[in-house]
């Protein structure tokens, strides 16, 4: 699957935007600037971008508590997202969602979700709509959500109803603070998905190209009316479960090793420069443009309008 230079730069820009968005949040949270719980996506960028680069705004995704990457990859406005995480009424969800429930239905992003495994049934419903309009519904889950009963119900129902739903399991090897080796009872998540009667494959979640290639094939398969599919993406989480997590479950040197050896952005840069598809300088330009965007997002968020007590009870209902 040959990508144009523009497409390669765009994919890199998306991944870099996610990385810098998350790294900056990590710093700002440490300064006490941001309220609530935040779960950073850094390390898994090739998954969100490798999937979403195939999608149009009319396709649907549903995300998890670790949702910033999926939002950015699906086309949510980065500055409005940052404002939301700062709790501004100018935020993408007017300060009602924060990090964990951020959504933009208008671009087909049906929400991050604070309840692990809650997205899968909703993705089945988006799949009903997708089947009627020729699009596809993507359910992002982690290796934690793969053990929820809701995920099992949703996978079975998607098979029964033959819906164009792709269950994307990003296996970062930790469900919160517990290892995949303990919590996933099956031989593998992929074997379990296959047992539901759907096409189930694996890909390398730190290699954008592997994810992109595999997803292209799955989307074509699902849109052809073959029913749902599943893909397990082997990836790494560079930060804790939540910001503030002391990560005592990590092995000695584990974080340094995965950041050194299993960084999807480094992998991407090495591949495209060695193959002479892009120049390092072009990527450096993207880096500085993204840094500027994130700076602007944070600066604007710090001075953005704050919600007032009158806003508490708005949008509970459409009609009262």
């Amino acid at each position: 699957m040959q990508l144009s230079r523009e497409a390669l730069i765009r994919a890199y820009r998306q991944m870099k935007t996610i990385r810098m968005f998350e790294e900056r949040l990590h710093d700002e949270i440490a300064l006490g600037e941001i309220a609530g719980f935040t779960h950073l996506y850094a390390g898994q960028e090739a998954c969100a971008v490798g999937v979403c680069e195939h999608l149009d705004p009319t396709d649907y995704i549903i995300s998890t508590h670790r949702g910033h990457g999926h939002c950015i990859a699906k086309g949510c406005d980065v500055i409005a997202m940052m404002k939301e995480i700062y709790g501004s009424s100018e935020g993408l969800c007017e300060g009602k969602s924060g990090s964990m429930h951020i959504a933009d239905v208008g671009v087909g992003m049906l929400g991050a979700n604070g309840i692990v495994g809650a997205g899968a049934p909703i993705a089945v419903g988006a799949g009903i709509t997708a089947k009627s309009n020729g699009t596809v519904s993507i359910c992002f889950s982690g290796d934690g959500a793969c053990n929820q009963g809701t995920t099992f119900e949703a996978m079975n129902m998607a098979v029964v109803l033959k819906l164009p739903v792709i269950f994307v399991f990003e296996n970062n090897h930790y469900s919160e603070h517990t290892g995949e080796a303990y919590a996933v009872g099956a031989e593998s998540m992929t074997a379990r998905s296959a047992a539901f009667g759907m096409k189930a494959i694996k890909a390398n979640g730190i290699d954008f190209f592997d994810v992109y290639q595999a997803m292209g094939e799955l989307i074509e398969y699902c849109k052809a009316g073959n029913g749902p599919a599943s893909i397990e993406l082997d990836c790494e989480r560079f930060y804790g479960h939540f910001e503030g997590d002391p990560q005592r479950y990590r092995g000695d040197g584990e974080l340094d090793r995965i950041r050194e050896e299993r960084d999807c952005l480094k992998t991407f840069r090495t591949k495209v420069t060695e193959a002479k598809l892009l120049e390092g300088a072009e990527l450096d330009t993207v880096d500085s443009e993204v840094a500027d965007l994130i700076d602007r997002a944070v600066a604007q968020s710090k001075t953005a309008t704050r919600p007032t007590a009158e806003d508490v009870t708005t949008n509970v209902y459409i009609s009262y």
Binding site: E84, K96, V105, L110, A154, N156, S319
Partner: protein, 338 residues
């Protein structure tokens, strides 16, 4: 006007709404029935007889028979509703809300709010509820108190065939999520139903009987019991102002307070147990906003703080009845300030 049973009113109303709006879909277990069996599809048509013939008319992409997966039923209806459909989900017994509560409470009820007002989730969740069939603790409950307590949901409890039509059509056309509670014992009740397009807006109580002595509030199955009690009490000279609240959320506070300000006495009749319930909520409302009008303590007729029992004698003792309502009304009327 046609005379119909409530089960047929529900089926016909869904049929009319599916005919007028292509985006309306319906999901649930056995709403078609017979799929994958020798008997073939439509062997059941819904175990309550509320969806017969709809699959044949609208096809499997709009009348979607599902596995027994309540979370996935509600989630699928929600996902479809978020993306442009208008979904009707059936949960076969309201008691099964326990296995799909997250999808109702944390998802459907909160989307609009969490997403900053930038989404809509037009979903009607139909749930047959209530006692009277000796169906025992897990198939007999009234659950309106839970869903009424959840901001973001509207809750409907019709008591007559005509109201069922007007309120169900309103629910399906509403852009907010609606819990539509159908009392199992009322499915076979017959009554006149208006022809054609008929919508009853939410939040408007129906005056069932008029009287100046005591306000009685009821919903669903309790309305008929209270009406029977009120008609007998009238013969004994006790005038009952009986309101069928129709919807517990939104609530017609104005009608309740107007009535209590006139009668000075309140009796709520509720099929759910008495603690942290709809009955206690109404009691609190009146105590707060019509305190000066009260001439006697607020009273309630409810089951005891107990699960719904199985045996005929036990269930009869558990449920409210016209006799219990009459006895409580007489007690309220005999109250004298000490």
């Amino acid at each position: 006007m046609a005379v119909k049973m409530i089960r047929d009113v529900i089926r016909d109303t869904i049929d009319e709404e599916m005919a007028r709006d292509d985006s309306v879909i319906m999901l649930g277990e056995d709403i078609v029935g017979g799929n994958g069996s020798a008997g073939g599809p439509e062997a059941i048509g819904g175990i309550w007889g509320t969806s017969g013939g709809l699959w044949a008319k609208y096809g499997p992409d709009r009348v979607i028979d599902t596995p027994i997966s309540e979370s996935a039923i509600i989630g699928a209806a929600a996902g479809a509703a978020l993306t442009g459909k208008r979904a009707i989900a059936e949960i076969m017994f309201a008691d099964f809300i326990g296995v799909c509560m997250d999808q109702i409470w944390n998802q459907v009820a909160k989307f609009r709010y969490m997403f900053g007002g930038k989404s809509k989730c037009p979903i009607t969740i139909r749930m047959p509820y209530g006692g009277g069939y000796n169906a025992a603790p897990q198939h007999s409950q009234s659950i309106h108190q839970f869903v009424t307590a959840m901001p973001g949901l509207k809750v409907v409890m019709p008591s007559t065939p005509a109201d069922t039509k007007g309120l169900l059509a309103a629910a399906i056309r509403d852009d907010d999520p609606v819990i539509f509670l159908e009392h199992k014992f009322l499915y076979a009740v017959k009554g006149e139903v208006p022809d054609g397009d008929f919508i009853l807006p939410f939040g408007h109580a129906r005056q069932v009987t008029q009287g100046d002595d005591i306000t009685i509030l009821a919903t669903g199955m309790m309305v008929g019991m209270a009406e029977k009690a009120a008609r007998t009490l009238a013969q004994d000279g006790i005038g009952c102002d009986l309101l069928d609240l129709r919807t517990t959320s939104p609530l017609d506070e104005e009608a309740i307070l107007d009535s209590v300000e006139r009668t000075g006495r309140l009796l709520t009749v509720d099929e759910a147990p008495p603690r942290c319930s709809f009955a206690t909520d109404l009691s609190a409302l009146v105590a707060q906003k019509a305190f000066a009008s009260l001439r006697a303590p607020i009273e309630m007729v409810t089951p005891p703080h107990s699960p719904v029992p199985f045996a005929r004698e036990l269930e009869a003792a558990y449920l409210p009845s016209p006799e219990k309502i009459m006895a409580k009304a007489v007690q309220i009327m005999s109250y004298r300030r000490g």
